[in-house]
Subunit: 371 residues, 2 copies
């Protein structure tokens, strides 16, 4: 018997943890990894090597790393002064392929590799595609990456350079997913969807464990995350819940969720049809139908966080502010979180005497440069 299984996030039914199982067979709900507390877990050391984080692999030797994680946290003296709030950034663009996705991909590809999967399909706005392409190459797997043709050329090129087959789709982010799903069905291949795979969230959890040490056990009161499918948002929360269960932390932060006004299914709490979705510079969060939407909403409620959506102009304004005031060059998707932060402070959703942590999720080098 394995030390973990999958559990449906909707009907709570248990399933065998097969890397090819992406939804509950009973109710089609999304799945999450559940560890069996009675069994000794396989664990990696996180948070400066002081914390054991259980992982969904049979042995440590199965974990395939390209050096992801352990990203620095920096203070933001200039922007903190502007917004009269103590703001910290965790530099997720300092991951091997330039985005936080590498945390999730490392775990997902390790799990697939351990089951001898040799060919996979993934769909992405660009960052997850580049990440999966790099780790699949490292693992000796063939990967088909579906991405919107409208994604930044650098992201499309990056997917190809690692050797994967790029399928550039002339359509929206959601239509890209549909094309990938059709391809999986027609070719009988394994769908390594970072949005559905429960292994992916297990990888992003390392972010949550790391901040325990980054902040000397005093996790900031607010974490503000740009959310498309929510894999980082959910991973952070799951990690912090585990730390609370182990009585290593007492309270949980408010988890705020930032989206672009042009596609905000979580902030607006409505389904977005293809025709309603407007283009956004924040391509990484341009998702009309996130499969884990209700999970994100549940964390919003539990944590007392706010979902907020921001204008295109405010996203670009903050991308430039971060570069020109703090020397940090991020992609627009990451800047959206700061645009949101500014509003949350103005609306008193974030108290000025509380600290704020924001992950800078992706590198500005991968996107078009602002004018």
């Amino acid at each position: 018997m394995s030390h973990f299984e999958f559990k449906c996030t909707k009907c709570f039914k248990s399933h065998k943890a097969d890397p090819q199982t992406l939804k509950c067979g009973t109710c089609s709900g999304t799945l999450s990894v559940k560890y069996d507390d009675s069994k000794r877990p396989v664990a990696i050391m996180v948070g400066g090597g002081t914390l054991e984080m259980p992982i969904p692999l049979s042995s440590l030797s199965e974990y395939l790393s390209l050096g992801e994680g352990s990203t620095p946290v920096v203070s933001m003296p200039n922007i903190s002064a502007m917004l009269e709030t103590a703001i910290y950034a965790k530099l997720e663009f300092m991951n091997p392929t330039g985005s936080f996705k590498d945390r999730g991909t490392a775990m997902m590809i390790s799990a697939l590799k351990s089951k001898n999967v040799s060919e996979i399909v993934e769909d992405s706005s660009g960052n997850a595609g580049a990440s999966v392409s790099a780790y699949a190459t490292r693992a000796g797997m063939k990967a088909h990456i579906f991405a919107p043709l409208s994604a930044p050329q650098t992201k499309l090129n990056q997917i190809k350079i690692y050797g994967s087959v790029l399928h550039a789709i002339d359509g929206s982010r959601d239509e890209t997913t549909e094309a990938a799903e059709k391809f999986v069905e027609n070719k009988s291949l394994v769908y390594a969807s970072h949005n559905l795979s429960p292994f992916f969230v297990e990888g992003t959890k390392t972010f949550g464990y790391e901040i325990f040490n980054d902040f000397d056990r005093e996790i900031p009161e607010n974490i503000v995350v740009p959310v498309g499918n929510g894999s980082l948002y959910l991973g952070i929360w799951k990690a912090l819940e585990e730390l609370k269960e182990k009585r290593l932390i007492k309270t949980l932060p408010k988890m705020h969720c930032i989206q672009a006004e042009n596609v905000n299914p979580i902030a607006s709490n409505k389904a977005w049809s293809k025709s309603e979705i407007k283009p956004t510079v924040a391509g990484g969060i341009a998702v009309g139908s996130p499969p884990r939407k209700s999970e994100v909403q549940s964390v919003l409620r539990q944590s007392g966080g706010t979902a907020y959506s921001v204008t295109e102009a405010s996203i670009v304004k903050w991308q430039i502010k971060l570069a020109k005031h703090e020397g940090l060059f991020c992609e627009p998707t990451s800047a959206a979180a700061f645009a949101g932060l500014e509003n949350l402070i103005h609306k008193n959703q974030i108290n000025k005497n509380e600290r704020v942590l924001i992950p800078i999720t992706g590198s500005g080098l991968k996107d078009v440069f602002p004018e």
Copy 2:
């Protein structure tokens, strides 16, 4: 009295450690920081927080960080098998601006800031310029960055995004330096040359301290570095010499130096005139007259390393190999080291039973993509 001074690398004369002093007033030799062992040094913790590295600042609070350093070391299973040698890469492109330069820049800008310098001039093939632009912004300094007009557009854009004034020079890397020097003279500004500043090398030393822990005190027998001006090469050596003086390591590695055939003043041991320099894809090491050339040659002799130069075709071949076999996407300059390694192994300059460490100095995202 300060706990450090400058010392000429040629005539060994001592000078006051002024950030504006870049050459020996007596013989025009390059300068190096020399610590006074009788005084208590200001030090930062490096190598997983276990080693004290003395720094040329009056107090720790003067050290301005954007999260540089502490980069991961990864094994290279596929390329190691190809070359039948144990090869490790330290991922220097996982620095805040995408290259190892951030290590040196952090120290140099901190030193300039501590002396209340408010406006600086720098010249660069691109990476150091972007790095100085980011850190100068963070420090609230105005920066003029000179770079060749022929540098990759992404690097030129990156210099601008952080807010510095870009001076794009229609000429070679060496002509870019001349233009910067003229501008410094005409405007009476401070020349923050990463190639001349002794503070810059003090920053790159962190690489050498880190590998002490990365390899559990057993530094690999060979380190292969792409060398233009040699700021990383010299920093690694200085760090390892300090560790040896402290009796923390017993032996020093062979320090191999890789250049492009089209501009190889160190490997060929001759001066390159402007008209002789041919273009190279490895823009980061396209330097005809490196000011610290004799320092690099001295380390080559002392360490028993080899200087070797590589063809354009072999550089591009290795850039693609690294991406397609290891999932690591570097700029051509970094790939040159692997092209050199292949030759050093074939010529028995590197023994197959010895380990090899190579810094992957810069991100592939900043350069033109290979076809």
